[in-house]
């Protein structure tokens, strides 16, 4: 796991890093769930939308499941083509 926290700090500020640190258990669970779903570019997802993934794991899982359910079987590809869709999780 090689998340560029410097990038998160640059784009979302120090308090976003604090949010990541304070919710590390949930962040790790959420990352593991993204990996399980087949997102091998999970680092990019977290770096671009860190605040979407610091929530309680069950809450994030529900939102992600709803999102990929709507997108269909090709969800990995669709989200890779348009990362902006992840904004729905905010």
């Amino acid at each position: 796991m090689n998340i560029d926290f410097g990038k998160i700090r640059e784009i979302y500020g120090e308090d976003a890093l604090v949010a990541c640190n304070e919710n590390l258990d949930d962040l790790v669970k959420n990352i593991n769930y993204l990996i399980k779903l087949g997102f091998d570019d999970y680092e990019d997802i977290i770096e671009r939308f860190p605040l979407a993934f610091v929530d309680d794991h069950e809450v994030v899982k529900e939102k992600v499941d709803k999102l990929i359910g709507r997108l269909g079987d090709d969800y990995v590809n669709i989200l890779g083509e348009d990362m902006g869709i992840w904004e729905e999780l905010l």
Binding site: K7, R9, E10, I11, Y12, G13, E14, D15, A16, L17, V18, A19, N21, E22, N23, L24, D25, D26, D40, D41, D44, I45, E47, R48, F49, L51, V54, D55, D56, H57, E58, V59, L79, G80, E81, D82, M83, G84, W86, E87, L90
Partner: protein, 446 residues
């Protein structure tokens, strides 16, 4: 010199502090310290002005005998430096710092480690710069945050070097908690983790190796996942917490281990009384604070989502006021940022570009990043597209420029039907594939 035991006991009792809770060494220190007038002023300041609970003073009695005359000045120095009251109360001993230490250390650590350090590590402000510099010789072997954690302890540099050697031997990244233990204990704890196939987390080093084994056994007996959070409490309390959660049908997530089982009962009671769904985040606050948060949310019509409990009632009120100032609808996301950073971002955007740009993703973006990207996009005549497709803000400025150049090289437009070109929205992997494809197949300019 305090002349009579009974004077000390009575004085402390007037402020709700239980003198008999102190061990003999502490009592000796208090008795040989400054006079009752200074101690009275210290207690008056701590209890009645700052609002420190007597229990907190009982846990940190050094404030009563180490530089009690400096408490007020040190407190004001910390507040002026932006350290909030809750954090100061959680780290009371730094109020006993020698005059000038806090200021000097603040300047040094801000410059060399970042202002954000103090969010996680307020204790460092009580450490002289000279001591921090003693551990900077290990900068190639441990992170900056670990250096500061080592400086907070009473370890000598040679001891820290030995601990680093153990970490290097087992391939473990040294975190701050490692320095709370001696060399023998650290080795034992690392062995236990390896035996049980557990990821080594900082919270483990707050416990003895014996206690860690007990906690692991209890979690296994009760079929609870072993994460770093279970090591926040002693084994017996971990057992009680698990039983209490099961009694009330509460999912056993990491946050429950921040509370004792009694506190969990209080929280459940308050949540049931006020109709608050019991999510993991409610356990970030105690029952009284949950009640205060409920009051603030009711006052401002804020939905009691899980995110609000990540902030104190005071912080929530500050965030709500900032949102109201700029006419922003309050969404759950704003509670993941501080009021001051939201204010900076919203002020910059609304004063220069108007409130129509205050979308959820834009307001949580750091003001400094907005100050680079917005003027640039505005100069390109493409800024308006950021409302419909703000995800471009998730790119570093350099990444944005690079993608812009690629888009130009293939003769496409930056903005297509009011949204940024899809190339800005590609994942890093897809972007690299696209770039390679364009570069190997050649560019066709329309």
């Amino acid at each position: 010199m305090i002349q009579e035991d009974i004077s000390v006991s009575k004085l402390l009792k007037n402020y709700g502090v239980n003198y008999s809770s102190f061990d003999n060494d502490t009592k000796d220190m208090i008795e040989s310290s400054s006079d009752t007038k200074v101690m009275t002023r210290a207690l008056e300041f701590l209890v009645n002005i700052v609002g420190v609970s007597p229990k907190r003073i009982e846990k940190c009695p050094s404030v009563l005998y180490l530089n009690p005359g400096c408490l007020k000045d040190n407190y004001e120095e910390l507040i002026n430096r932006g350290i909030n009251r809750e954090k100061i109360i959680g780290c009371l001993h730094i109020l006993s710092s020698e005059p000038g230490i806090i200021s000097e250390t603040y300047e040094y650590v801000s410059k060399n480690y970042g202002v954000g350090t103090f969010n996680k590590n307020v204790s460092i402000l009580g450490v002289p710069v000279s001591r921090i510099q003693e551990f900077e010789r290990f900068s190639s072997r441990m992170s900056k945050s670990a250096i500061l954690s080592a400086a907070i302890t009473t370890l000598r540099p040679a001891e820290v070097s030995t601990i680093l050697g153990i970490c290097e031997k087992y391939g473990v990244e040294p975190s701050g908690s490692f320095f709370q233990k001696g060399v023998g204990e650290i080795t034992e704890i690392v062995k236990i983790c390896l035996e049980n196939n557990l990821e080594i987390s900082g919270s483990m080093f707050r416990k003895s190796s014996f206690e860690i084994r007990r906690i692991i056994n209890i979690c296994r007996e009760k079929n609870v996942e072993i994460t770093g959070s279970v090591f926040l409490k002693g084994a017996e309390e971990v057992g009680k917490i698990i039983d209490t959660c099961r009694k009330h049908n509460i999912p056993i997530t990491g946050s429950v281990f921040r509370r004792d089982s009694d506190e969990i009962e209080d929280i459940v009671k308050v949540c049931n009384e006020l109709g608050i769904p019991i999510s993991g985040t409610v356990f970030l606050r105690d029952a009284d604070e949950i009640r205060r948060i409920h009051t603030v949310c009711s006052k401002y019509g804020v939905e009691l989502s899980a995110n609000v409990f990540k902030k104190s009632a005071d912080e929530i009120e500050e965030i709500v006021k900032v949102c109201q100032k700029y006419g922003l609808d309050i969404t759950a996301t704003v509670f993941k940022k501080s009021a001051s950073s939201l204010d900076k971002s919203m002020k910059f955007v609304s004063e220069n570009y108007g409130r129509s740009y205050l979308t959820p993703l834009i307001v949580v973006t750091d003001a400094n990043h907005l100050k680079k990207v917005f003027p640039y996009l505005d100069s390109r005549g493409t800024l308006e597209a950021v409302i419909a497709s703000p995800a471009i803000l998730g790119l570093k400025f350099e990444e944005l420029i690079e993608r812009e150049k690629l888009i130009e090289s293939i003769g496409e437009d930056d903005v297509v039907k009011g949204r940024f070109n899809p190339i800005y929205g590609l994942s890093r992997k897809k972007y690299e594939e696209k770039k390679e494809h364009i570069q190997t197949k050649g560019v066709v300019v329309k």
